[in-house]
């Protein structure tokens, strides 16, 4: 973890303490998104200032966020008015604790997102708020080492490895960067990118021969990966410092690099494997807890967040894209343009193989992620035998699927009942 992200944690801890002293008349917007100080301030000044009422926007880390929310829910009364969080945060909650928002009259333009927002019920338990994805980015200096005949907008994993190897050879340093730090989003790479691209599945194919091949490929890429990657969590920092030239990360965790030095970096789609170009969306939503002090005001704020102007202001602030149909203006920040083009190229590619966010796992989402993170730590960092690790982790994965009864999600083939690990 870097000093910057440490500071962010410290600041959000201070913000957490400060919330105890805020006035009651405002709506408390309790969020896990837009945490960095500048983003939080921009949320207040540029996004929420247009709302008719007063809003107290307080972003936080996941831990304090859920702790306070649970405390208010179990006390039966609270001061949090509106929640802002990722799909995974809501999926870990009991849907009963969120107010049904079906009659609000606002939804996202995507049926997939609206379905996810029902959290397994028949009603909208949260409203999709904004979306993002994971893309690749590179320093322009690395472009000269692209393998012959490789199209940066249609790379394969083999070409990516060759490219990283060329850079490694030319500079003497491993310059592929991977967010494997404690706060890095590495599990999403395995769930949404590596597995769909090599096995056309995530759960069913977890321990298949194709999965062994996937891990072998990743191990080859790891040879050209900066070994300090286990401390990287926001790849924009390593892009800017030059410690990494080719990176994978969440669009909003790359944004600063493009905004600070737009001419130095390029964004491009994730690579493709034998079973297509796997990629995964990120979905955040807004919801109202049952303990909200003023539900009418809170509902008004949720509606306001989905208005096209608010969505564009949110995009400028957080680098998360709108979930409703809007005409994007031309003067968007460089990060938004770069990421938008890369995502469009990724989803529009002929071999696109989109994966969905894990669904139906309830509060076992963390355990599900840990299966992938543990596999990574044992295979790549620990150098253990791939087949043995996958067979071992498979039992844990199967137990999670059976306990939750979660059916398969794309790209896994649909299942009756719990998704089987084959």
């Amino acid at each position: 973890m870097t000093v910057k992200s440490k500071l962010a944690i410290a600041v959000s801890a201070i913000a957490f303490t400060c919330t105890a002293y805020t006035a009651q008349a405002e709506i408390l917007f309790w969020s896990t998104q837009a945490k960095p100080v500048e983003e939080a301030q921009a949320m207040r000044e540029q996004v929420l200032a247009g709302f008719s009422g007063d809003v107290d926007y307080q972003p936080n880390d996941g831990g304090p966020w859920i702790t306070r929310l649970n405390a208010e829910l179990s006390a039966g009364s609270g001061s949090i008015g509106v929640l802002g969080a990722l799909h995974g945060d809501y999926a870990a909650m009991d849907p009963e604790n969120l107010i049904d928002l079906s009659d609000l009259g606002v939804t996202s333009a995507s049926d997939t997102f609206n379905n996810l927002a029902m959290l397994g019920t028949d009603t909208m338990q949260y409203i999709p708020w904004m979306q993002a994805s994971y893309i690749m980015a590179a320093n322009r200096e690395a472009l000269q080492y692209l393998p012959d005949g490789a199209d940066i907008n249609a790379l394969t994993y083999d070409q990516l490895i060759e490219w990283a190897a060329n850079v490694h050879e030319a500079t003497g340093e491993a310059k592929f960067g991977f967010p494997a730090g404690p706060d890095g989003l590495k599990h999403r790479f395995f769930q949404g990118y590596l597995y769909p691209s090599f096995t056309d599945g995530v759960v069913r194919t977890f321990a298949s021969d194709a999965a062994v091949n996937a891990w072998e490929t990743f191990a080859r890429l790891w040879e050209h990966t900066n070994p300090a990657s286990t401390n990287f969590s926001f790849m924009q920092e390593q892009l800017l410092s030059g410690d990494a030239w080719i990176v994978f990360d969440h669009t909003s965790r790359l944004a600063n690099a493009f905004n600070e030095r737009p001419d130095d970096f390029v964004a491009f789609p994730a690579p493709a494997g034998p079973t297509g170009r796997g990629f995964m969306p990120v979905l955040a939503g807004v919801a109202i807890p049952t303990t909200a002090p003023n539900i009418d005001e809170a509902r008004a704020l949720v509606s306001y967040m989905l208005e096209p102007e608010t969505q564009i202001a949110t995009l400028r602030t957080t680098n998360f894209f709108p979930v409703v149909d809007v005409d994007l203006p031309d003067d968007l920040p460089p990060s938004v343009q770069a990421a938008g083009n890369a995502i469009a190229a990724m989803s529009g590619s002929p071999d696109a193989n989109p994966g969905l966010l894990p669904a139906g796992l309830g509060d076992r989402g963390g355990d599900f992620n840990r299966v992938f993170v543990d596999s990574f730590e044992r295979i790549i960092l620990g150098g253990q035998d791939i087949r043995a690790v996958l067979d071992d982790q498979k039992a844990t994965l199967a137990a999670i699927m059976n306990d939750t009864g979660a059916p398969c999600w794309a790209p896994d083939a649909p299942s009756d009942g719990a998704c089987p690990v084959e």
């Binding site: 000093v3 730090g181 404690p182 543990d374 730590e377």
Partner: protein, 282 residues
Amino acid sequence: MNSRILPYVLILPVVVFLLAFFIYPFVLVSQQAFQGDDGGWTLSNFQDVISYWKFPISLKNTLLLAAAVVPIQLALALLMATMVSRMNKGRDLILYVWTIPLGISDLAAGIIWLAIFEQSGFLNSMLSGLGLIERPMNLLSYQSPLIVFTAIALAEIWRATAIMLVILVAGIGLIPKEYYEAADVFGASKWKQFIRITFPLLRPSLQTALVLRVILAFEIFAVVAALGGTLFPVLMGETYAYQFDLLNSGAAAAIALIILGISIAFTIVILRVLRVPKGASI
């Protein structure tokens, strides 16, 4: 007020505070550790936690770190305390400077040492500035577990030696000067005086310092998180992961109780080994 009741009245606020904010949550956590999803009594939380592949590694790391750090801190604190107690001028100034790390939070201490050991940190800049290395080395990487361990141990020694120092300085101050004067008369060397007078009479303070320090060593978390990230799993880090990453309070409570058990076991050992015989106080 009746002088027999007064002491109890005076400690009442503390007792109430401890009952409300320590004993009561502690009872709740203990219950959580032994409760399954269905609310029944079970040991499954402990089974889950202990059978996880990282548990033996984090247990080993925690114990190793304590074994490496505490003896060095003890020796350093003894040395520093003796030095301070012999000083006439500037004693307070030195003592204040030495105890500065005590006022810094452990996360901040971790970040300070991260700034030294990072790839673009002070150590690397210094080495390359002196021409000893060609380009910055990556010191805190999964390929060099020994350096990661050393960095964490150094940060811990730097940060937490002062707490032992303060206790030992107070303890040394309590030893009557007459013993040393008598030793001088009989021609005992300074080393002999330390071994025969200071050390035995310091036993009660040593006990306190060691118990406090060993318990804190088993609770090490923020320094490790800052310097080692996920490279150096320790028990407290696992507790955090269970509570906040996996939202599994039962397992987090179970591992917290395991840490408590280890702490109690070591406390008993220290109390036994450094036992002060009855009536043998200064």
